[in-house]
């Protein structure tokens, strides 16, 4: 199982998914319209590292974070 966290204004509780790679996570998340509208402008982190490809295998216990547009300061 991998854990998906939705950060900041997405305002959704974390979920757990039984998936093998990041592509599968993307596929699952796009099924929910309340999430998919955030995805086009959100960055993705795997275990707190920003990733730039979906071709990444996942292992049990991995944490994926969805980071919507930011504005610090």
């Amino acid at each position: 199982m991998v854990k998906i966290e939705f950060l900041g204004p997405i305002g959704k509780e974390s979920i757990e998914l039984d998936v093998k790679n990041l592509k599968d996570v993307a596929k699952e998340l796009n099924k929910d319209e309340n999430i998919s509208i955030w995805l086009e402008k959100s960055a993705v982190a795997l275990n707190d590292m920003i990733v730039n490809s979906l071709d990444i295998e996942l292992k049990d216990g991995d944490k994926i974070s969805i980071l919507p547009p930011v504005c610090g300061g």
């Binding site: 900041g8 086009e40 993705v44 300061g73």
Partner: protein, 163 residues
Amino acid sequence: MEIRFQFYLLFAVDDMVEIYKGPLDVKDIISRWLDECDGRNWGAFIPFIGIVRQEDGIEALSFDIYEPILLKWFQEWQDKAQKKGAIVKMAHSLGDVPIFTSSYIAAVMSPKRRVALELIDEFVEDFKANAPIWKYDVIDGKRIYAQTRSTAMDGAGLMSKKD
């Protein structure tokens, strides 16, 4: 700035990143950072102090922070600064920050003036674009995501259907 609030330090990492609950005590922070300069042979110290403006009827801004990635983002900047013989520092607020108070201080200490001036600019701009912090306007006690002022981070859209 007249002190009308109590200041709460939540955590500090290696004396480099300080996160406070609510507004920053600017004088105290700058004063401590100046003390750190003393005798260290820095030639230039430039703090950038961000203050919450009164506009669009807001009573405060409010912030969420995702600390693990913030600290990684910061460490990369510290490494970059160190290669130029400089160091960077930052303080930021979590939660509500009333108008006319400070939510953000970034700073550079460097032997050289040019390095300091360039670094503070790049550091503050990249902070705005890529530090994992989310801003909300507080109006009538309600927290409204500052969507139009927010910036998609580098690499955003990776999971979008369109791809």
